[in-house]
């Protein structure tokens, strides 16, 4: 071997190795349905961070139907053999696609950056398929919040948000007597289900919640605790105003802001509405964890599909690393109203509700009371979730007895298992 061929092979190696060694470039096409307000701004953060590293970002926003339209598009793309690089996809939905063999893993990046150490174990398990990371979480939303208007509460001499459901009922009865709507609620199936799971947590605690709504244990689903949950749900039905049917969640939040109602049970995306209207936490509105002393987890994530070509594979690795970087987690979540999925990010720039959320998250991880949300597609498949939502929404909108409701719930879950 002479000098020349040595030089040639060195050059050849360098052309192969160097592009992968440099930090920049790669192409990603990202399919998502974050098209409104704070959400669009948040995804814009991701786009500009990615492009700042020299990559090419192809945006594929598909609005409509809370992601249903995007899912339909995704299905068509995968069938055609041309999936997007990364898709906004969450919870057991990730596993559904992984089982179809449609996903790439980003385990090399995850191992190198030690994601296991910084993510809550419950969330990490959702991001993995057969022990390998196939998705990266961008945030953590807490579902079990009660939002309140302090001025309205002051009218009946209450200063704090109730910490158990009996107290809540007592305050709500006082509000009713004073002619104020106690609970702002929108009668859409997912909102009914959100209230249902928050009540179930408050009545039965984290272990009951996990048995019934995550592990789908028949004994828990048909238990007396579940009957009590439905009883409380029936009480809450009496606390909503007459026009609740079909109302969007943000209009219910507006009722709190305008003083037309006292409480709303909703995840912390409601905070975005308050902040956008220029309201200050602690002063114009209160945020308090719902009863139960636990944490109901909702998280958005990007899932990596089986793409081909050096450029796109590279883009996937860079995107995964970027999503999990502390800097991005901070800027994204400031825009979105959630808290970072990484538990080690400093929260200096976040508001008091977010700080409280993070404290409770850490406590819940330690106490094993962190549970994934059923209503927000974190705990069970879309099939099971759909059946549970049917029962809950039918119960909430009818005169069904709690015993019948529990019966319907248990048999609906059994039917699809």
């Amino acid at each position: 071997m002479n000098k020349f061929s040595l030089l040639m092979s060195a050059a050849a190696i360098s052309t192969i190795v160097l592009p992968t060694a440099t930090f920049a470039d790669g192409t990603v096409e990202v399919l998502h349905w974050w098209t409104s307000g704070g959400e669009a701004k948040a995804v814009g953060e991701l786009k500009s961070s990615f492009e700042a590293q020299g990559g090419t970002w192809i945006d594929s926003p598909i609005a409509g139907g809370g992601g249903d339209a995007a899912m339909t598009a995704l299905r068509a793309r995968v069938v055609a053999g041309n999936p997007p690089t990364a898709v906004q996809l969450k919870g057991p939905g990730i596993q559904e696609w992984a089982i179809e063999g449609s996903l790439n893993d980003v385990d090399d990046v995850a191992k190198a950056e030690n994601w296991d150490a910084v993510l809550p174990p419950v969330l990490a398990a959702i991001m993995k398929y057969e022990g390998k990371y196939v998705a990266a979480p961008v945030n953590i939303h807490r579902v079990d919040w009660i939002w309140a208007n302090p001025e309205v509460l002051a009218k009946v001499g209450v200063t704090e948000v109730p910490t158990n459901w009996d107290e809540f009922n007592a305050v709500a009865d006082k509000l009713l007597a004073a002619g104020i709507t106690p609970l702002a609620h929108g009668g859409q199936p997912w909102q009914d289900a959100t209230v249902f799971e928050v009540v179930a947590l408050g009545i039965g605690g984290a272990d009951f919640y996990r048995d019934a709504l995550v592990n789908l244990d028949q004994a828990a689903l048909a238990s007396d605790t579940m009957v009590k949950t439905f009883d409380q749900l029936r009480k809450l039905r009496g606390y909503v105003d007459q026009g609740f049917s079909g109302r969007d969640w943000n209009l219910a939040t507006a009722m709190i802001m305008n003083g037309q109602a006292a409480f709303q049970i909703m995840g912390d995306w409601a905070k975005g509405e308050f902040l956008a209207a220029g309201k200050a936490p602690g002063k114009d509105f209160l945020c308090a964890p719902a009863p139960g002393g636990a944490f109901v987890l909702n998280s958005d994530s990007f899932t990596f599909f089986k793409v081909e070509g050096e450029d796109q594979l590279k883009g996937q690795q860079v995107l995964a690393s970027l999503i999990m970087s502390p800097g991005f987690q901070e800027t994204f979540n400031l825009a979105k109203g959630s808290i970072p999925a990484r538990t080690d990010v400093a929260l200096d720039k976040f508001d008091s509700c977010a700080v409280k959320s993070h404290e409770d998250l850490t406590a819940a991880i330690a106490a094993n009371s962190l549970v994934p949300s059923m209503a927000h597609e974190m705990a069970v498949s879309r099939t099971v979730r759909g059946e549970i939502m049917d029962v809950v929404t039918n119960f909430f909108n009818s005169n069904m007895s709690s015993a019948d409701g529990v019966q319907a719930l248990a048999s609906a879950v059994k039917r699809v298992q």
């Binding site: 139907g65 249903d68 899912m71 339909t72 299905r75 995968v78 069938v79 939905g93 559904e96 696609w97 179809e100 009668g187 859409q188 199936p189 009914d192 105003d241 007459q242 026009g243 609740f244 049917s245 079909g246 498949s381 879309r382 099939t383 979730r385 759909g386 049917d390 929404t393 039918n394 119960f395 909430f396 909108n397 009818s398 319907a408 039917r415 699809v416």
Partner: protein, 300 residues
């Protein structure tokens, strides 16, 4: 000369014979693929265990058992029958009455006819959204009447699971009865004046003239109106989505919204396909006897 003419004549003959078929064939091929092939594909999918993606493992009638064991499906079917029955009856009664009243050669008939026909120009989405606000107890009629001082007035069908389906009927009838009116008005105008005069000479009053002479004469209009209204009712999807979103709960679910929910919101293509096949069979149960009688009628 004749030698040069022969191929042209042959071509003309060929075109004479085949041109209609050649012109129609792309359309025929397109509907063969996009309608009938996809119907066949849907039927096939309904026998498989397809979930989030089409999956070609056959599971027999499991998806149909699933559909028929889901309480929500029964609600959807019941709503379909309630809605179809009341929608057709309501549109026919109001449409025929309006047509008879307009038939009296009144002034400004053209303007009035246009006013009644206009709702048909709107999409069901617009109708649904407008009626959603009108019927909402905290925004619409109930609030208005209570504002007039009738504190006890209550009209909350939209949020009452037992009554919500009737609000869909109200909105549907409002939209479509003008169209039925136009069909009947055309029918009434085609009746020979001589017959009406003859009836008047024989001493028949206006009610009797219409009920026993004119309406029976325009029976074909009844048939075509009912067919048009029936297919509007069975495929009603947008009206329900805009007006109630299938709610409260799933009280106003229809087979079409049921199918949509299972296919696109719950990743259950197999179950959705089974419900779609059930819908197809419902439509065929209505259409096949009708087509059969039409074909037999024209063969005579």
């Amino acid at each position: 000369m004749t030698n040069a003419g022969t191929p042209r004549v042959a071509l003309e003959r060929f075109l004479d014979r085949w041109l209609p078929q050649i012109v129609v064939s792309p359309l025929f091929a397109a509907s063969l693929v996009f309608v009938y092939a996809f119907i066949a594909w849907t039927i096939y999918i309904s026998f498989t265990k397809s979930g989030v993606m089409p999956n070609y493992t056959l599971v027999g009638l499991a998806q149909y058992e699933r559909v028929w064991s889901t309480p929500r499906w029964y609600v959807a079917l019941q709503n379909l029958f309630v809605f179809t029955g009341l929608f057709i009856a309501g549109c026919m009664i109001i449409g025929v009455l309006l047509a008879i009243l307009l038939d009296q050669r009144i002034r400004l008939e053209g303007a009035i006819r246009t006013i009644y026909l206009y709702p048909m120009a709107l999409s069901f989405i617009v109708t649904g959204t407008a009626w959603k606000w009108i019927l909402n107890p905290t925004l619409g009629i109930e609030k208005l009447v209570q504002g007039w001082g009738f504190r006890d007035f209550s009209f909350d069908w939209l949020v009452d699971p037992q009554m919500a389906i009737y609000t869909v009927v109200i909105a549907g009838v409002w939209q479509s009865s003008g169209y039925v009116m136009a069909l009947f008005l055309a029918g009434l105008r085609s009746v020979d004046d001589e017959i009406i005069r003859a009836a008047a000479i024989d001493g028949a009053g206006p009610v009797r003239t219409y009920a026993t002479i004119i309406l029976p004469m325009i029976r074909p209009v009844f048939l075509s109106s009912i067919i048009i209204l029936a297919h509007l009712a069975i495929k009603s999807f947008d009206l329900v989505v805009a007006l109630t979103g299938g709610g409260p709960g799933y009280a106003t679910d229809m087979p079409a919204t049921f199918m949509y929910a299972f296919a696109f919101q719950r990743s259950e293509l197999g179950t959705a396909a089974a419900s779609a096949v059930m819908m197809l069979m419902t439509v065929m149960a209505i259409m096949v006897p009708y087509l059969y009688s039409e074909i037999r009628g024209s063969a005579k």
